[in-house]
């Protein structure tokens, strides 16, 4: 009797399991259709995640809260060593909640990193934030556009921007890591080795075919720099985005394109210990197009237009100082046509001069000397590095600043008190300063001429 009952119970349990298995697929399909979750159901999840998300039921929220309280307390006391583990557990307890991933990544990359004096320590925490989102958050929420944006934001703002005083270290370390991975500024897509592709995919979650597509659309980008990665993650997030998320990701793309145009080409001279992210004029036209596309797709968004206007203004100055006069004129004409204001009614040269004049109006003698001398040093430096266009642009800028500054200080008494030294004298001084700072004889020889 007892044995029969057991057999019957086992049979009923088996039928229930079989039926539950049959219902699984239609339920997942319904969930997808009703957009109840953006990602696929969790498969092959680590046992810890499977256990916490299924077995603990509603109690996992309470445990997550307790862990969160502990994390806050430890952070307050400056005990950071547990934070990575606690963030890992908290996110695993709520793997589908995007805000939890976003908060912990941001907390590590922004809040914790700045508590350290040493750039190496800071970078480690920024890296923790990146890996939490990239390797874990997006794994469990592959269809969540906001997480792509959050990840892109760390590249665009924390590493590429200059709000953090140690940003140059972050740029350098990221560039070194990427240069080691790609063997240059960007992958040689046609000759990528199997191990390279594997490493890109496994460690950095970079899809080479997608990178190639982005390069075709927006590049050639320098993939050693963070802007390229901000664009990559925004691009990947866009296919899942709707409404505000789309706008946010598009904004990330065109802003990063603008950043890439302004400082998206890396100049590295290891023998001279030089690491300078400079303008990437090759992507300038594509950055312009990215703005234009965003304006066309979001006609009511005035913020994009004002961003575009600022971008064009800066571009005119940049092209002018890089001795790309024809392009500067073309961009200026576009600026004048799209945003007709009195300041753009004059020609390109008067515009550049008046912009400088506005700047120079209230400048002190010391600041003007610094500006002229700095531009001249830049000019000599780039000449030594073999970039004659850039050298000429800076030379032109220095002379313009000198001329405009001295225009209002020509009276003998003012000239003596607040005037600048002759431009040739300043230029010679700048040359000797640059020459002294160079270490290779090859570079020095270029300045000797």
């Amino acid at each position: 009797m007892k044995r029969n009952t057991t057999i019957w119970l086992l049979l009923i349990a088996g039928i229930c399991f079989w039926q539950a298995g049959r219902l699984q697929r239609p339920l997942v399909q319904m969930r997808r259709e009703l957009r109840l979750t953006t990602g696929e159901p969790l498969e092959n999840t680590p046992p810890l995640v499977a256990f916490t998300t299924v077995a603990m039921g509603g109690f996992r929220g309470v445990i997550a809260d307790l862990l969160w309280l502990r994390a806050s307390g430890l952070q307050e006391d400056g005990k950071y060593f547990e934070l990575v583990q606690l963030a890992d557990w908290i996110t695993k307890l709520e793997p589908r909640m995007k805000q939890v991933w976003a908060f912990h990544a941001w907390n590590m990359a922004y809040n914790v990193s700045v508590l350290f004096n040493n750039p190496t320590d800071r970078w480690r925490w920024i890296h923790q934030g990146i890996t939490l989102l990239r390797d874990e958050g997006l794994r469990y929420n592959p269809g969540e556009p906001n997480l792509y944006w959050q990840l892109g934001w760390i590249y665009q703002h924390k590493i590429s921007g200059n709000s953090d005083q140690m940003n140059i270290y972050y740029k350098r370390w990221w560039a070194d890591e990427m240069a080691t991975l790609f063997g240059g500024p960007r992958p040689d897509y046609l000759h990528l080795t199997g191990s390279q592709i594997q490493r890109m995919k496994d460690v950095y979650k970079l899809d080479s075919s997608l990178m190639q597509q982005i390069d075709r659309e927006y590049g050639p980008l320098d993939w050693r720099l963070p802007q390229a990665h901000a664009i990559y993650w925004a691009w990947r997030g866009k296919k899942f985005a709707t409404g505000f998320d789309t706008l946010q990701l598009e904004r990330m793309i065109f802003q990063s394109m603008a950043d890439a145009a302004m400082e998206g080409e890396l100049f590295i001279n290891r023998s001279e210990q030089v690491f300078i992210p400079g303008p990437n004029l090759a992507v300038f036209e594509k950055a312009r197009k990215a703005y234009e596309k965003a304006i066309a797709e979001n006609p009511g968004e005035t913020s994009i237009q004002s961003g575009h206007r600022n971008f064009l203004r800066t571009a005119v100055m940049m092209l002018f100082t890089h001795h790309r006069l024809a392009e500067a004129r073309d961009v200026f004409a576009d600026l004048r046509r799209r945003y007709p204001t009195p300041e753009f009614e004059q020609g390109v040269e008067p515009f550049v001069y008046s912009s400088l004049t506005t700047l120079l109006r209230n400048i002190s003698q010391r600041e003007a000397t610094g500006l002229v001398l700095g531009s001249l040093q830049q000019s000599w430096f780039w000449l030594a590095m073999g970039d004659e266009d850039r050298a000429q642009g800076f030379q032109q800028l220095a002379r313009t600043v000198w001329r405009e500054y001295m225009k209002t200080r020509n009276a003998p008494d003012i000239k003596e008190r607040a005037g600048l030294a002759p431009i040739e004298q300043l230029s010679e001084q700048a040359r000797s300063m640059v020459k002294e700072s160079l270490t290779t004889s090859e570079a020095k020889a270029k300045l000797a001429q």
């Binding site: 006391d77 400056g78 005990k79 950071y80 060593f81 547990e82 934070l83 990575v84 583990q85 890992d88 700045v114 508590l115 350290f116 004096n117 480690r124 925490w125 890296h127 923790q128 005083q165």
Partner: protein
């Protein structure tokens, strides 16, 4: 005493027979070996060591606490329920001896398991460190900052009492205070403001701290500091640290660029301590941008002084843990002699939870309203408030900090701490619990028909 030991022996034998010890040992082994492999540190060697110590011993403590709680409650409750106690109480043993025997059995079991777990953790830590090829820098950090026991010394407090009283009297005289203002709260607020002012460092000024170093040492002293800045961003602030008497020619001087809210340390030679055992530390705010540095009055600047080796600290930490487990054993055996097993276990778990949320209870005691408003609290608020206050004061004597936190960061777990736990929690509270437990057990009717 022989009878007590005999009962303790019986309790241990029963635990071994019921596989409790084997299961516990297995769980402890898993915690000690598997946990460090799955835990993520912050990517540094010091982080890895801290996580290993904190989490491994933390897991050991949790497992042993749960086991003690369950075994303690079951020790008498199950025997009563299954009538085995009838065999014991008919023998020439008092119920006090029975209670003490069960308690000592638990203590012995915990001592052995904790010794095994502690020994393994200690061995594992050194094995991990020895198999890695550590840089000189890493070894120095471990030796001087982590695998060490340092006493935390706070700076001598600046007295603001006279000024606070003067300001308070002035405010009363000029009738600046409203009728609703409570004098004790006003005075406390004035004191707080003055203290904060005394620990603020405006631009281009200097702030002095004096430390009384308790023991002479040749090892470098470590200054640990944390501050907030008047700037909203978190840009590092330039400051200069000077240590030693101002007239000394060899005065220590170190410029620092420190991030606000972070915790920073710097080493100071021990020979700068004056003959009277004091160390003067001056901080100069030299930041080019005008910014005020604000140090917390209680622990904004602290001095860490070498006190003993890591091994001794580790031993004291285990001793504190064992003391806490023994107290938990006393509590659970007492409740087990009063209630049935499930009720006793739940009550003990609730009591333990209350003891561990002391800091939250303290916050709640400061709330005067829950559903009413600050202006008008209702009866419910009043009842809840008194409940929280009652719970807080009831559990306060049992609230102790975890010794694992200081152990993991190289701070001292002192002998006085261990003595405090054993003296207060084990002897005094344990004694009271033993008396109460025996009294209840004596009055409990064991021969009731079921």
């Amino acid at each position: 005493m022989r009878k007590i030991f005999a009962i303790a022996g019986l309790a241990i034998r029963s635990a071994i027979r019921s596989l409790v010890v084997v299961v516990l040992l297995a769980l402890l082994l898993i915690a000690i070996i598997a946990l460090p492999l799955t835990i993520k540190g912050d990517g540094t060697l010091t982080g890895a060591v801290q996580v290993l110590l904190r989490y491994t011993l933390g897991a050991v403590n949790i497992i042993l606490s749960i086991a003690t709680l369950w075994a303690g409650c079951a020790a008498i409750a199950t025997e009563v329920q299954e009538h085995q106690v009838h065999l014991l109480v008919t023998k020439p043993v008092t119920r006090a001896q029975l209670w003490l025997g069960k308690w000592l059995g638990l203590l012995a079991l915990n001592a052995v398991l904790l010794a095994i777990a502690g020994g393994m953790t200690y061995g594992l830590l050194h094995w991990h460190l020895n198999r890695q090829s550590l840089s000189v820098n890493d070894r120095t950090t471990l030796r001087e900052e982590l695998l060490v026991a340092r006493r935390v010394v706070n700076a001598e407090q600046i007295s603001v009492e006279a000024d606070a009283q003067r300001i308070f009297a002035e405010q009363r005289r000029t009738r600046t205070l409203t009728k609703e203002a409570r004098p004790d709260q006003v005075l406390a607020a004035i004191r707080q403001t003055l203290l904060q002012q005394a620990h603020s460092l405006p631009p281009n000024l200097m702030l002095r701290h004096v430390f009384r170093v308790p023991t002479a040492t040749t090892r470098p002293l470590v200054l640990r500091y944390k501050f907030t800045s008047s700037q909203t961003d978190k840009n590092p602030v330039a400051c200069v640290w000077l240590a030693g008497a101002p007239e000394r020619p060899d005065r220590f001087q170190r410029p620092e660029l420190a991030a606000p809210a972070g915790i920073h340390t710097l080493q100071v030679p021990a020979l700068l301590v004056a003959a009277d055992g004091t160390l003067t530390v001056d901080i100069a705010n030299v930041n080019p941008e005008p910014v005020t540095m604000v140090f917390a009055p209680a622990d904004g600047v602290q001095l860490l002084v070498y006190e003993s080796s890591f091994a001794a600290n580790f031993f004291r930490c285990l001793l504190v843990m064992l003391g806490e487990l023994t107290f938990l054993g006393a509590l659970s055996v007492t409740l087990g002699s009063l209630f049935s097993l499930p009720v006793a276990a739940l009550t003990t778990a609730y009591a333990v939870m209350l003891m561990n949320i002391g800091s939250y209870l303290q916050i709640l005691t400061q709330e005067t309203f829950i559903i009413g408003s600050a202006a008008k609290s209702n009866t419910f608020d009043l009842v809840i408030h008194f409940l929280y206050v009652g719970l807080y004061w009831l559990t306060k004597p049992f609230q102790t900090a975890s010794p694992l936190e200081p152990l993991a960061v190289g701070e001292l777990v002192s002998w006085s701490w261990a003595a405090g736990v054993w003296g207060w929690q084990v002897l005094v509270i344990g004694g009271i619990l033993a008396a109460v437990g025996t009294w209840i057990f004596n009055r409990r009717e064991l021969g009731l028909p079921t």
